[in-house]
Symmetry: D2
Subunit: 360 residues, 4 copies
């Protein structure tokens, strides 16, 4: 109710600030008997963690995940799972400047408007550090969906700045994505993207981009009518990620210029199965899965923290100048890929459990 | 839980199929004492109803709303409000063809995959007729927000096919929007849009477009952290509307090509108040309102129902041809404007009540 | 959130006041494909309705239920089911006295404290007329549980005033219960109870009693840990019924005087199955069903509306005298039996769907 | 949804097993700015912890609570609060016997029926150790209600076995309750109760009892209609506590033998205020607070773990004998007093926030 939970049946509640005691998640509603190790979860977290490559922030955080409940003899027990990553010690002094100033395009000002005061160490609750909790919970969902239903969840960087990948979302493999540090399956575009990020980094600046989300081998019939449509829940899931400014399903914004006769997608029989010809809709009709690949795109703005000096104001309504003292990402896209995957997994898992409840 | 409710504190549950007994909404959590008449609610519904102009479907439906509970002596009582519009009699025979065939890009196939069978009269629960229930509930939220907080909620058609309006969302008035049947405040573009819709209609086809959403005079500090961010809740609300394929907040997809130093928005003092220079973010930071105008864009695909003959398959997996017998909209955009407004009002109202709970 | 919904997955939201336009329920989450007729639902409502016998209120209300959505060709469709009973015309003048006075032990005063004003016609939203909506939804749950799982749900009057039935809850049949107008399976006690109610009625007074709830043939393993235990959800369900003041599971209050060695219930093998010897716990351990019969007791106070003149105060803080002008029940127990059954069915149905979601 | 959360707006999710890594709670929806220390919370936990007196289990657990998020400079921040108590090391061998056998009147059998397997170390998730999480969250609610509204929450032992206290719930003070180790404000009865517990303990047995709950100085107008009545939510809260078998509001089961004219409670003017003469209803009408003291009683069965040898069966459906190896409570009542208080505080706090949302 206060905004820190996601999902109805596979329900996560995340907690933690960038510089409090810990960041983590309680997952309630996880089916019993899923075999998983802390190492498997850690692997997903390592794809998100800072300092993993030359183009991510050089900040070093271990982001070491521990499971403290709901887990017994290598399996989930069906009871709430607490996963926690303790925060490391830091120098409060690094952040003293932020105690008074509102960083441009950050949540300092709005959090203070909401709560009356704020935890000024780092970004507090608004820090993207919170997303590690999502990735941890997503790892469980991803594993279950893969093993139980054969669902394959994948994301990749499709655009950085104005550099666009040339990739067929139906064919991209996880290996292609992990083959470079920007996580773009088009190896040629990847090089350009990396070069762009390095240039921007050298300027003390940042750059945005687009992540393509893909969910393959989804059973037909998942999703709920009217409000909890799969696209609506994906939209919420994605737009809730830090720095996301847009979401589109299938052709998305590119469909507005088309006529119905161009955009409509005839059903046809392929190999004895009812399939659609093009899947431009993105894998759902009326919000419910058709069995085709789910595909969508997520727009990320350039990160707000930059080294360049910027104008802003402080709590006393005085004009001040700020430049980021800490170490930050010139481009969040490569680290956001596992987050998009985690949110995809959480949405699909929740709808699968809801489907089982009502229809099995 | 089964997808037919929206909102946490100002919570609507809609019900009804296109051809069952009725369509309507139960609204639970409405504050007591709001003065409103059935006529005021009807006015909003009339902006959504079919047959209102030459470019909407000539279908005639009264969509007459009745309040049956939670209402006493002209005021809401604080108890659940039932608002209902009875369906009119129709000839089932009009729909017999749909009993077997799956219309392209409609939910016939997916609903059957989900539920095992379907109400084949019209689109059943997947019909956009359901949105009248949202508009009815939204009318209450809109009135409350206007009177209590001075919040102004407005939407307009910004693009039809490739015809784009030239309008400043900060300045557009409701009068400008209602000045033409396409609901575009740029009167010149409106004419072109109308001509385009008429042309498409003549071809037995349909066309998509974009609606701009605007919420002005919002208090700073509304919204919740991490999942229930205002943009995330707006994204879900908008993408849950029939035919919507994309959502963007502020600059949205246009921000991905920018650098942080270009996109960032300095705080500054204007008239003694802390304001942002450009409001490219769309009115929130960290998901919480900054007090600037909320603005976002919603992409609608061309409607799937067209008169042109189309290929598809039926329940027996046979190839068949279909062309719409009924009367349908060549472009849903003008009728969708009040729906976007209603969903905006529902999101904001819910967050305002949540704010009161935690912070007042 | 505003208190008018019950259940997580099989979720009802009731609406309506005693003298508004209608009373009814939206049921969301009902599985598709349940065959049921309006007549079957009406049958349950007729057990609850006023005027059914000499010892219930002579008020005549048809309480005729109509299904207006979520229902097609004799089956539930999986979409929201609206069931509605329109209120009949009445003379507002009958209630003018209540416009100012607070009836003793009624909700007039507290509703006004909560909402600032109140619908003074009858008891408004606090009227027990709301329970017809519960019975309608419960009829669907009862039918599903019976047909799908063989679960048998039954309640009966176990005590009226100080007259106690002598009945074995394991053996009582629906036929025994319906054999008399007080709904007590002990025919001898039933006669005494009826005589007592008639006497009390003659005095212009009312009398309380106890209903025994029974749920047989429940699968083991239903229920959730810690908060949503079956007994906890039953407790809430029962105490939410008008006039209920107490709930006990199994031996309940009678267990407080026992030692563990007396109260504990050994597991043993019966017919190859693990069973408990006594089932004094009431059919659950740790809140989860053991497969034994669920049994519990619900205490009803005497109804507050009596013909005898009573002292009270009005809105102007003046002492006034009141005596009920309308026609009321001297004892609600016989009409409450189907309500207790409905709430039992709603609790069990919800937990069965939750079980399917997590464990199937 | 999986049963581990309580409350709508002041929402707790507890986690942890008796012998996993930790037990604790995430509290979401706590208002920002509440000043509280870990020590204040610990004080409440110490009233619940084992080993506190001669008549509680001699098990030694520190139950040391740590706040790891949502807390900054001595105040709650409005973001999720993680409170955690790490479990101490233990010898798994102590529990090997329980790996196979189902303890009588414990949840071993039902948890296995539900989840397919179980964490057999101690009682796993069914352990009353979980209640420490409730007490921690309750401490925050209690403090807020006291400081903000002057609400006083209090519970005490009213009966142990057949020894009954003679106490006026309107007058009992916290000091009276804490004056003896059984937590009964009637010092004479307390002595008898303690003697009874000691006797029962000597026999290797256990004994039940009743706790009286009291909430004073409650504002009128809290609570929601029909389902989320204050008594209904209290009933659920109390019956969800381990070993609770019954709940009654006000006169409760004692009201069933009364006539309406005896039970009804006239409103009258006292000191210029509208009050009720007797408050036998327990402080609410129609589920909504009247401003009178809320009072209710909670029945606890004798704890199931006893030293006496008992008959039972094991997973292989063999008859076996069991006697508790560990150290256990002969009577949980004194340790349950702070739990009843915590649940009272959670219910009231949640309803207060809901009231603010809708009505302020």
């Amino acid at each position: 109710m206060a905004g820190n939970s996601f999902g109805q049946l596979f329900r996560i509640t995340t907690f933690g600030e960038s510089h409090g005691g810990a960041v983590g998640v309680v997952l309630d509603g996880c089916p019993p008997g899923i075999k998983i190790t802390e190492d498997e979860i850690q692997k997903e977290l390592d794809r998100r963690k800072p300092g993993q490559s030359a183009i991510t922030t050089p900040r070093k955080e271990a982001d070491k995940i521990k499971i403290l409940s709901g887990y017994f003899e290598g399996k989930t027990t069906g009871t709430p799972i607490l996963m926690i990553a303790y925060n490391e010690e830091f120098e409060s002094d690094d952040y003293l400047e932020l105690k008074e100033a509102y960083r441009p395009s950050h949540a300092d000002f709005t959090y203070e408007a909401k709560y009356g005061f704020r935890d000024w160490r780092g970004s507090g609750r608004a820090s993207a550090r919170e997303t590690l909790a999502r990735v941890a919970a997503g790892a469980l969902a991803k594993k279950y969906l893969k093993e139980k239903l054969g669902v394959e969840i994948l994301s990749y960087v499709d655009q950085v700045g104005n550099v666009k990948a040339n990739a067929d979302f139906e064919k991209v493999s996880a290996k292609d994505v992990e083959a470079n540090i920007i996580r773009c399956p088009d190896q040629k575009a990847a090089k350009e993207m990396i070069a762009l990020v390095e240039k921007v980094k050298g300027e003390g600046d940042s750059i945005g981009g687009i992540i393509q989300g893909v969910i393959r081998n989804v059973p037909a019939g998942l999703g709920e009518p009217v409000f909890d449509k799969i696209p609506a829940d994906l939209a919420k899931a994605m737009v809730s990620i830090n720095a996301v400014k847009g979401f589109e399903m299938g052709l998305g914004f590119r469909s507005v210029g088309l006529k119905g006769s161009e955009h409509n997608d005839p059903f046809e029989i392929q190999g004895g199965e009812i399939r659609t010809k093009k899947n431009d809709a993105g894998g759902t009709y009326g919000g419910i899965t058709s069995g085709e690949t789910i595909h969508f795109r997520v727009a990320f703005k350039p990160v707000s923290t930059i080294k360049k000096e910027q104008d802003t104001v402080n709590r006393k309504k005085q004009a001040v100048k700020l430049s980021a003292a800490g170490r930050h990402d010139p481009c969040v896209l490569p680290r956001a890929v596992p987050i998009v995957e985690a949110m995809s997994a959480l949405v699909l898992m929740d709808h699968y459990l809801r489907h089982k409840a009502q229809n099995a």
